[in-house]
Amino acid sequence: MPSLPIRSAGLAWLLGVGLGLGLVPATLAAQAPPPPSEAGDVPQGIQVAKPPFSPGIFPCTNCHDNKTLKPNPKRRVLTEMHTDIVLNHGPKTRWCLDCHDLNDRDKLHLVDGEKIDFTVSYRLCGQCHGAKYRDWREGVHGKRIGYWNGQKEYFLCVNCHNPHSPHFKPLKPLPPPMHPEQIQAWKGGAR
């Protein structure tokens, strides 16, 4: 996923076609009929952060090199590595290789077998969460920072939702406001 600062929808369209990536901002979809393939899949703006890998874990092929560590497609409970990962995402039958690619661990795969980068993991999420995916592309769901009238940075699904356990984690709230009875003149001394 190239980091394109998209200011002009038209320019982006040309660039997208020219690069053969079928890049089109979601905003254009309303005016022009959406082209086939993954057109309209890419949100407006640029990605804010890398997918939230644990430190030192990527690229996965450092270990999963298919030579010293052979791929094992057998559905099982992991006992040697990645034991910290608790999978709490949908049906009990789901497991690692439903999303991670068996032969190329630096990639994810879609249900049709297409391999995708971790940076476009939203396409994977969007397979099941279609409505949410649409909201996210339009900026209705999820978080964006930067410029409301210009270059935006967007957060990936996985920046907020742990893909293995996607429920948003509760937070400690910051302190409540002072009661009016407690609000008194500042006594901290001379400024």
């Binding site: 009016p180 008194q184 003149a185």
Partner: protein
């Protein structure tokens, strides 16, 4: 030039009249000056610290000051209670006390302006509200209207009182063609100051407690009770302490009129309560807080019922001719009416408007010591103005003191002082 010279001596003689008095008079003045001094010290503290010296906060952003302001606007407006019968029906017994009503209005307005001044956060920017010099947001802001009508009413009353006294001083009959239109004009002005003040609150959709169509009528009805209540007591004092003759008939007539307005006031209050409690929408919470308490907060409840009971008792006392014409029950009735309306149009109006606040929070507001002392100072200023006005006016009204008569009293003063 001759007129100017006479007027100068009118002012100088008035000042002399004011400075000369009995022991009781001096004690009273000294008492007021002490209250004013204490209030001034408290206000200096408030200026230094800011309005944080009060117990007002964002949740209850107006309090004791604005409550007193509202009540006193009613007192000021009530002067018309006496002016209407006197001039419209030419009813003689009341006519001579009209000027007293107008002086009461002046004093009440001085207090009103004082309460507004101490309530604003930036008194140094007072000039911003002056038309042409500053930026008066008229006609959009009801507060702009209030500034205009209150000041017009103050100037009008001050002029009429000064003119009538000046005529008495110079032993000339006042020019009816000048006075009558002004006095007649002061009638709609009086109605308008209280109506505009009611609209000030009434127009705020954010505060359902005030956003009621009968708020302005309620203001007028209660004002017509409280203003005369003060006057009736005052007239009796004046009858005792001066040679001013005020007929019993006049006092009883005013008391009778007060019975009707108090009855009407109670009826309007009941109408409001019925609408809120029977329809029982979410807007009922404010009146619930006032009369029954809300979520464990009962700060206003005793006051609210005291107001209702005082009003009812006074209504009965003034309605029954026997108790109306009995001086003891009459005076009890006056105190009851004054208390009832003071609670209802002061704290009983302002605080429930803000409690709960627009986001549902209950902050139990009680005035701070600063607020009480500053308010005491302002009341003292009002009483001082009224006392001084009376002191100068009564001998002139009686014809005891003019530019030719009664000057010997100053010689006494000089000799006794020497």
């Amino acid at each position: 030039m001759a007129v100017l010279r006479t007027f100068a001596s009118f002012v100088a003689d008035s000042a002399r009249l004011v400075l000369k008095g009995g022991r009781l008079y001096y004690a009273w003045i000294a008492f007021l000056l002490v209250l004013i001094a204490v209030g001034a010290v408290a206000y200096t503290g408030q200026l230094r610290e800011g309005l944080i010296a009060t117990h007002m906060r964002d949740q209850v952003s107006w309090g004791f000051y604005i409550g007193n302001f509202t009540f006193l606007v009613g007192v000021a407006a009530a002067a018309i209670m006496l002016v209407i019968p006197a001039y419209v029906y030419n009813w003689e017994p009341i006519k001579e006390i009209t000027i007293l009503g107008e002086m009461l209005a002046i004093s009440a307005l001085v207090m009103c302006l004082g309460f507004v001044l101490v309530d604003i956060g930036r008194p140094d920017r007072f000039w911003h509200i002056l038309p042409f010099i500053g930026h008066l947001n008229w006609p959009s802001s009801l507060l702009a209207w209030d500034v205009l009508v209150l000041n017009t009413y103050l100037i009008l009353n001050a002029f009429v009182v000064t003119y009538l006294l000046y005529c008495a001083y110079t032993e000339k009959h006042y020019v009816k063609k000048l006075v009558l239109p002004l006095v007649l004009f002061s009638i709609p002005m009086a109605v308008s100051i209280h109506t505009v003040t009611a609209y000030l609150y009434n127009g705020l959709a954010s505060r359902p407690f005030w956003n009621s169509a009968i708020l302005a009528p309620r203001f007028l009805a209660s004002a017509f009770c409280s203003g005369p209540a003060i006057l009736l007591i005052l007239l009796q004092i004046l009858r005792k302490t001066t040679k001013l003759r005020i007929k019993d008939e006049a006092i009883f007539k005013v008391a009778e009129l007060m019975a009707y307005t108090m009855g009407f006031n109670l009826f309007l209050t009941a109408a409001e309560a019925f609408k809120e409690f029977y329809s029982n929408t979410q807007h009922v919470v404010y009146m619930q807080y006032l009369y029954f308490g809300l979520k464990g907060h009962y700060a206003l409840v005793p006051f609210a019922w005291a107001s209702v009971l005082c009003g009812l008792a006074a209504f009965i006392l003034f309605l029954v001719p026997k108790t109306r014409k009995n001086w003891i029950t009459l005076n009890i009735g006056c105190v009851l009416i004054y208390s009832s309306v003071y609670i209802e149009k002061g704290m009983g109006l302002i605080i429930p408007g803000f409690t709960p606040d627009t986001l549902g929070e209950i902050y139990v507001y009680r005035p701070s010591l600063t607020e009480v002392l500053v308010a005491g100072g302002i009341f003292a200023i009002g009483f001082l103005v009224f006392t001084l006005l009376l002191k100068a006016a009564v001998p002139m009204m009686l014809g005891e003191f003019t530019h030719t008569k009664g000057r010997d009293r100053f010689k006494d003063a000089v000799s006794s002082a020497g």
